[in-house]
Symmetry: C2
Subunit: 497 residues, 2 copies
Amino acid sequence: MPSNAVNPDLQREREKASFNTQEFTYWWLGGKEKYEAKKKLEKLFLDDPELKDELPISYMSPKELYEHSVRKAVIIAKKLRELRADGEDDVDTYTALFGGALGSALIKEGNPMMLHFVMFVPTILGQGTVEQQIEWLTKAWNCNILGTYAQTELGHGTFLRGLETRAEYDATTQEFVLNTPTISAYKWWPGGMGHTANHAIVVAQLYTKGVFRGLAPFIVQLRDLETHMPMLGIDVGDIGPKIGMKSVNNGYLGLKNVRVPLNNMLMKNQQVLPDGTYVAPKNSVLTYGTMMFVRVALIRDLSQTLAKASTIAMRYSAVRRQSPIDPNKPEPQIIEHTTQQLKVFPQIAKAIIFKITGEHIWNMFNNVSGELEQGNMDRLPEMHALSCCLKAITSADSAAAVEVCRLSCGGHGYMDCSNFPTIYGMTTAVCTYEGENTVMLLQTARYLVKVYAQALSGEPLVPTVQYISDYIKNREFGAFDCTLEQIVHAFQFVAAK
Amino acid sequence: MPSNAVNPDLQREREKASFNTQEFTYWWLGGKEKYEAKKKLEKLFLDDPELKDELPISYMSPKELYEHSVRKAVIIAKKLRELRADGEDDVDTYTALFGGALGSALIKEGNPMMLHFVMFVPTILGQGTVEQQIEWLTKAWNCNILGTYAQTELGHGTFLRGLETRAEYDATTQEFVLNTPTISAYKWWPGGMGHTANHAIVVAQLYTKGVFRGLAPFIVQLRDLETHMPMLGIDVGDIGPKIGMKSVNNGYLGLKNVRVPLNNMLMKNQQVLPDGTYVAPKNSVLTYGTMMFVRVALIRDLSQTLAKASTIAMRYSAVRRQSPIDPNKPEPQIIEHTTQQLKVFPQIAKAIIFKITGEHIWNMFNNVSGELEQGNMDRLPEMHALSCCLKAITSADSAAAVEVCRLSCGGHGYMDCSNFPTIYGMTTAVCTYEGENTVMLLQTARYLVKVYAQALSGEPLVPTVQYISDYIKNREFGAFDCTLEQIVHAFQFVAAK
């Protein structure tokens, strides 16, 4: 069989499909137009010989892998700049290039410049004033500066109030003085901080006039733009090897009396005036926006990742033959074994369910964001609870599903060349970052307890939790007739009960 | 705090222990004598400066890691030879040096010479005649030859009848001719085969006088003893990077008309006479012995691995402080959080349960082996079913438990320096090798269906499944009084039902 021929077992399975696969593809991607845009983008990047790996990256040391990945990241950034100059980039371009599909195909273990595009630029957009956006965004889009986002510390992650990095305003010089006073205050994990970025948005506890004001974001220069050496007072480096995301270049950051100008604090939501007067945000919940956005984006991306894992397992199950079912017949494709079907099929189903869920919450997020812009906060708690809950559920279930897929490929799934080890490393990380799953579930529980009390006192509930009111009004389930509506009703009934 | 000081939170937890930890240690290890032998062995190996890592292995490329590991493996083998010369080695020595405790401490990602000691030598002992043992074992114990065990192929693993490697006897030269006729017949996975071993026990389908006789083991020389280059007809190399066991040096092997003398077939259980006459084994189940031994050894070792993982998680939970429970008090050790207790405590309990289970089945295996030597096969099916079942359950549960422990350490568990990535790689592999877990559970199910039928027809059952007879005789559970006996009875009742 020539190396580019399709395995005949696989070809036969494809021909047997009982549905129109092209139609399914359009649905998955959101229409024919999106499909064609995707193909065009993939051609632009995947056909570039400079972006191909000559040696599988598994054979590299961490240092070699970083150098290899940052070289490719620079090529990708150049192409992105060209697309942007031609007005051919949109949100789908960035979602694709830094997500689990095209992004992972280009740099398997994660792009060391990812946080520049998915956190540094969006945070300036979301939290900078118009003047600050003009000042920083041009440089950032052109990659004249390369940024990352430094919030989590060695000592504190999801529990934000525990962060120890301090920014004290010095009105005499109109500067903030930033410090990480203890070892546990060191920033820990920012992608690209290890060796790549020369700037960071540093989240710190703000003090002005000696009074504590809460968390605020500051743009801090980490490295000299010419020599790439750390600036005075900056202690920066790589945190070391990890299960996955091996080329994301996660770093640490210590700050010792690092001074930044007043204008380096992002001031869209809260302000410090030159004399040190603090102007609090009109609504502190506005800072939820970025967190919700990232969680919603993660939920969408997980369906893509799980689709990839279950496709690998399904293809393997079609081409691998093992253990006769009927001793008089040749060994069947392993997908003929019931035990194999029970492993692989539910993971395919989950990928599709998470896809529908992801699109639903993506649309809801866009609606709620629009309402927020107009000062309407009504659906914010619902949106927050739903994004917490689904981030936890989809990440935990996807990580478990990837392992089921991997184990369904026997020993071959254990090898790096199956791609499962990389996919698992990427997926299980989502259980921890952007809000640790246990905390996310506790937030969901807190919301549910609150709305349950509202329902008991007869208050109307938002659509997502309407089923609780329904249950309280009518505690009898009635007859079950196995229709789809009844199955949904049964889940709601059990959940409310 | 000096780097060798114990964290005060950890010290306080240790002092609060409500039981005698020394007594527990003796129990875990099987008595004070075993404890002292363990300490002595650890001192001999862990204090050797040549066996320490100057650079964490996570920073190495696969090639560097292999060279580093094989250098250490040679030092370990030399020390083992000295112990053996002084009569100071026993089964515990090898269990320790190639297991999840001392073995993993010395070569974290697996000893490339492990299969020489745990498969090559034991197979010659178990399946070689006395003459063959004399011929091969002296060389093997002295490491004048280095072996591995080649059974699994690219195309077939757990389903042994599907193996394709052929050994045809040529009576004219009194040699076997070995071939891997297809790409899927290539041996795949043998540890140390990549670049380390110069011999292998190759399991092949035996043909004499043109008649198929079943599987048989052959000693095959892979590489020249002086140049280490592959012998004529041998195609051998490394299969590539994997999730874990990264320095085990798993390899592939193709054979093209490789000739070995008649006496290279291990002939304790079955024989080929010079004219090609085949003498079948007296009892084909005797070949189960090695498989059962390995599974029992794995079950014992998994308790050790899980104890290690849960110890790391427990220590982290004692020293990490996060998120106040009472807002007026400082952040507590995270083990004070109920959610953290629910993650870590059950894994500690499982490690202890698997320890008791492992010792139980180890003793049972030794008894049954003694009975087998005397021709008594009565308990073989029970022993086989129990070792299959427990291999599957303990490996799947341990792998899941390691991940619970890892995730309970938040982002820090994701880093290689937590040691969780290595432990998970080692543990999840056990789900697949030495009998894929799904197949193991199907074997268990087959046994249970068989004994259930026996119980229904009134035949007496062996102790392990006696509870099925009890249930059939008395299908009423009766009152439940929550004693330990009643809890065991309840599990048995539910299982039988």
